[in-house]
Subunit: 228 residues, 2 copies
């Protein structure tokens, strides 16, 4: 018996690793997809390779698609990454680390691969609770994408239905960490920091939200334990 | 006075060149976007460079994004391109030259660039009349994309509205050729053939539809005149 495939967007971070672990726990063959899009460093892509391997992915593609061609984000242009912000500050406005249309671009590419391998599910690790700043992490965007996806494709025109699975969308960071831990996911394999030093910087929004999540989950972060 | 920008998807073919010429005639600054996505040959990308230059594009980006990573089309995998088909045969089913999710991928990337340069219009040269086979050339897909685009972006979340301009969507190939000719577009700069020989093959669907268009418009194809 061949299991059904699912394309899983895998950044190398904590959230997408958890979403992919959930896909695996539901019995899907994992087609892991990462993007070398000109982000500030390669550490998260190395983490994605480790996570894909740990999850026994059927295939892992790292696609190069250089969004530095137009920049427009602290992750793809020479704009400083904010440091040491409070949660209140983070929630005040869409941050400069927003990459224009990134999740739409990634989901569209995932859809292309899904159609080729006859997968109908795409897993994405967005969550709108702990970081509502990004418009493309909201459920309403995902549902709209799903409709568009079904009109954009041969499979959709022939009656197939693509489903965007965002199992974390309404979970807090600590709930995500507890869920992944329960599935045996080793968060020491993941990388969240926006900068690419030897150790996580501990001060960017991504490090701060990760630390808050582990703290609220009452667990040490295995990445810090390992590297400390 | 700075004119408003528009991102124009430019494949190097006849349709997208016409759509970009229409954008220019409406006074937009052209941000031309082409994709090196693993298509069978580079001739159409060379054509795109010529067209962008002829239209006085403000900038032209050719982005590499290799869809051969998963293939699934006669344009991105080792699947033969059909030859010598009648229109009736072409219209019977979605052809093997369909590239999974291609227009959705291209529009999503165009949207990212548009947001960065504060353009609100994206021009795409799809038409559903003369080649209804591709699901992602239909108006309903474009309107759905527009809605998704406005939810996917910071600009959309802040009240901006992106508009997908598909001026050719309900035109026949001969009407397109007449419109571009009236705007002074030199179709000798464009390339439509799916294969990459010295001269257009004259037998693939794209060559056949182009020939039919010029014939119905009562004009010689300047590309053939030039190369002949």
């Amino acid at each position: 018996m061949t299991s059904e495939g699912a394309v899983c967007l895998l950044s190398g971070g904590l959230d997408s690793a958890t979403a992919a672990a959930i896909a695996r726990s539901r019995g899907f063959d994992i087609y892991a997809l990462s993007f070398d899009y000109g982000q500030r460093h390669a550490r998260e892509l190395q983490a994605a390779v480790r996570v894909a391997e740990a999850l026994g992915a059927k295939r892992h593609v790292t696609l190069r698609c250089d969004l530095r061609a137009w920049g427009g984000s602290a992750l793809t242009a020479d704009i400083p990454v904010p440091r040491g912000r409070s949660l209140a500050e983070m929630e005040k406005a869409i941050p400069v680390t927003y990459v224009p249309a990134r999740n739409l671009i990634f989901l569209s590419l995932a859809l292309g691969w899904a159609e080729v391998v006859k997968a109908r599910r795409i897993f994405i690790g967005v969550n709108q609770l702990d970081y509502s700043g990004y418009p493309d992490c909201r459920e309403e965007f995902l549902r709209s994408f799903e409709q568009t996806a079904n009109m954009a494709t041969k499979a959709g025109a022939e009656g197939g239905r693509f489903v965007i699975e965002a199992p974390l969308v309404h979970m807090s960071k600590s709930e995500i960490i507890r869920a992944g831990t329960a599935l045996g996911l080793d968060y020491g394999l993941t990388w969240s920091c926006y900068t690419g030093g030897e150790r996580p910087c501990g001060e960017c929004d991504s490090c701060l939200l990760r630390a808050k999540g582990f703290s609220e989950a009452g667990m040490p972060d295995p990445l810090l334990a390992r590297e400390g």
